[in-house]
Amino acid sequence: MDNTQPTVSPTPAPKAGSTKDGGSRQQAARQGAILQGILIPLLAVLTGLIIGALVIIITDPKVVAAFGTFFQAPGAALSAAWKSIATAYGALFRGSFGSPTQIVNALASGDSVAVRQAFWPITESLTTSTPYILAGLAVGLGFKAGLFNIGAEGQFLAGSLGAAFVGYSLVGWPLYLHLPLAILGGFAAGAIWGAIPGWLKAKTGGHEVVNTIMMNWIAFRLSDWLINGPMKAPGFRPVTPHIQASAELPRLFGDPIRFNVGFFLALIVAGVVFWLLFKTTIGFQIRAVGANPDAARYSGMSITRTVVLAMTLSGGLAGLAGASQVLGVDYWVGQGFSAGYGFDAIAIALVGRSHPFGIVLAALLFGFLRSGATQMQSLAGIPIDIISIIQGLVIIFVAAPDIIRGLYRLRQVAGEKVVLTRGWGS
């Protein structure tokens, strides 16, 4: 049974003879829908950040103490609260973009090392965004096919191991052969990890939510075994060997900047996914199966083939994310490697409304947030998990736009409902 069906509310038909009136009403409705399509995710993130700020305040012992004497010294309490938020979000900003004064000073001094250090935060944010773009595309592609791929975490891990394996085991190969092969290895490993739950869903009806989560846990255990066993580098640490230099994604600036070609690779992949989804027959089939499987079947499309293909591609994209991380940033895979990319990707895909360009923007946002949060943790002592809290809230707000509409008194503009997933029955 279908969970939600995409509904396009009937736009008022233009009155005969007064095309201007009818046309503009139609246009206004569409423009309103597009505007809300961008506005609501933005407001969702903003509201999430505001609630995150509240959480920071109420869990800050200094602020709680100040509020204990609120009625004697309200000003002190409020300023303590403000200071707490400012410190936290200030650290977040400095972690994401860097300190403006530091940048100006470095540029003025002309010292290349100082310049690189000043620009490190913003380049690090872009580097962090790279796997998010790819993983977000993975989940978003799944959503377009009506599938909920929570397995991006495990597919990411599989891809990173696949890329690392090709990266360290082929010795003496030229860069233009080795690097693409390593990237392909990552894609393939992730694709297999996605194809299995996809096939199970298509053939047996086993819901992809549970199966992909199981595959995640299996991937964690399997990687534990691999990293401690067959893929272990000589030495004590449970890590894979360092990949060969010929498999590294070239970095564009010197140390300590880790920004590499992978970012542009991710943008190109986003363009490819856009082209695939909206300009090819396969993409049309994927979107049709996602929107209305019964109609799709009736018009002759093979649901099985499309579902398996969609999950395979989705897994491959997540695998690419893992590959980009290994080949561009870390150069090896350690135990407990994945840092929650898969779950962030869900939020990114939702905020980006499953559209490749929206996903890129959302991925940049989350990448900057995450990157800054690491700084927020070391400078202001706020645990990085606050980002997960904000994410959960953002997902809720995006999935239930009426909450945002109610909060900010937005008009109800009917638009196309995004079909996200289905229940157990279908």
């Binding site: 049974m1 199970l200 819901h207 939510v209 199981m214 255990r221 998990d385 904000i390 997933t421």
Partner: protein, 421 residues
């Protein structure tokens, strides 16, 4: 002259029953090949049937079996059953599959513990304990989905409930307070899910996933912020097992079922109560109606929204109990993501159990057994890497889902928000 009536069997059914028979035969063969072939004679396996010290049960002699003969016997019986199924075809083929699967496990245990002793009672007892959180998650799913609301967020509910239980029990020094806190936390999160799903008509799976992410973040945040430095807040102790007098004296059954902690007893109580309520009370009937055909129930005067709210929140209470198991029933402190996917395994048990409480309970026992088995196997030093053993519950879940979902029917209106026109 009378003509004999012949019951017609469809060719598809014949083929399916033959395939089942072949599968049984293959299992029997694999028992022989994997465990029996090349096994030296003269070895015995001792299956311990007695619990540890401190138990009230009457002692029983241990079961010592000749390893090779037992394995051969189990293999032979399985092959015979498989052949019989191919030729004759039994009506209750499912039972046969279960039987042969049990033989496989017994043969495996006999082989893994050859020349040594293996506490069979211990593994059965710990299976029930391991199954408890899975069963509670499954029961939460049953009550919620029977009313038509998909609840993927059970994992998150259990996680937050576990933390609430540990922290409140550490603060107040009372485990009962912890239990209450866990139940209330579960109900609170379930209420949030209910509001999102029923009032705002959010996609229920998205809402559940959001709750999971939120719960993971919140519990990890609180752990890092508060609990790492204040060890006294993260040290609650656990419920001690309670023996039920007289019943616990029964050999074998007694130690398994009647010498457990309060949470296990509560779980078994919930199974029974839920079964009775769902199938023998008017409330249960209304619940099931709302899950199958809310429109019809609405026209008969049933308040669909109220029924769904109450069921989801009741499910949250059950999930809270499951969370309490992790915190104050098992370890006595809160660790990061300590639920380890049990919430989702519970969902698989719910599907396997065909959305009814007793079926969900039995399925949970199966998963609990897989869980306990991998612990015991590590102790036995079976030559399989521990990571693969740890994978076993998840692989079993996937296999179960693959084999069952297509044929098991969810409540018809499951996952569909109700629109009152």
């Amino acid at each position: 002259m009378t003509t004999a009536t012949v019951t017609r069997v469809l060719p598809a059914e014949i083929r399916r029953s033959r395939i089942t028979g072949v599968v049984l035969l293959l299992i029997g063969l694999s028992i022989f090949l994997l465990f029996g072939l090349g096994l030296e004679g003269g070895l015995t396996t001792k299956f311990g049937l007695n619990p540890g010290v401190g138990s009230q049960a009457l002692r029983m002699p241990d079961l010592t079996v000749p390893t090779r003969a037992t394995i051969y016997l189990l293999s032979l019986v399985s092959i015979f059953l498989g052949a019989a199924q191919i030729v004759r075809g039994f009506k209750r083929a499912g039972l046969l599959i279960g039987l042969v699967a049990t033989f496989f496990v017994l043969a495996f245990l006999a082989w893994a513990a050859r020349g040594k002793s293996f506490n069979l009672l211990g593994i059965l007892s710990s299976s029930l304990v391991s199954a408890t959180p899975i069963a509670l998650a499954a029961l939460c799913g049953v009550i919620s989905e029977r009313a038509g609301v998909v609840n993927i967020g059970i994992e998150g509910m259990m996680l937050m409930a576990a933390q609430a239980a540990v922290v409140s029990a550490s603060l107040t020094g009372s485990l009962w307070v912890g239990l209450l806190a866990a139940i209330l936390t579960g109900m609170l999160l379930a209420a949030a899910h209910a509001v999102l799903a029923i009032r705002y008509k959010v996609d229920q799976i998205v809402s559940g996933v959001a709750i999971n992410i939120f719960a993971t973040g919140t519990t990890s945040y609180i752990l890092s912020r508060f609990l790492r430095d204040a060890a006294s807040l993260n040290n609650s102790g656990v419920f001690r097992p309670i023996s039920i007098p007289l019943l616990s004296k029964i050999p074998i059954i007694g130690p398994i079922f009647f010498e457990n902690s309060i949470i296990v007893y509560l779980m078994m109580l919930v199974v029974a109560v839920l079964h009775v309520v769902l199938y023998y009370t008017p409330w249960g009937l209304r619940t099931r109606a709302v899950g199958e055909h809310p429109k019809a129930a609405d026209t008969l005067g049933v308040n669909v929204f109220k029924v769904r709210y109450i069921n989801v929140i009741a499910g949250g209470a059950i999930a809270g109990l499951g969370g309490a198991y992790f915190g104050i029933g098992s370890v006595g402190r809160f660790d990061e993501v300590m639920t380890a996917g049990k919430g989702f395994i519970g969902l698989a048990a719910m599907i396997f159990g065909k959305w009814n409480p007793i079926g969900a309970f039995l399925a949970s026992l199966l998963f609990g057994f897989a869980d306990s088995l991998q612990v015991k196997l590590q102790i036995l030093r079976v030559p399989i890497p521990s990571e693969f053993l740890l994978m076993a519950p998840y692989i079993v879940t996937m296999i179960v889902l693959a084999g069952v979902v297509g044929r098991a029917a969810a409540p018809a209106a499951d996952g569909v928000p109700y629109e009152k026109n």
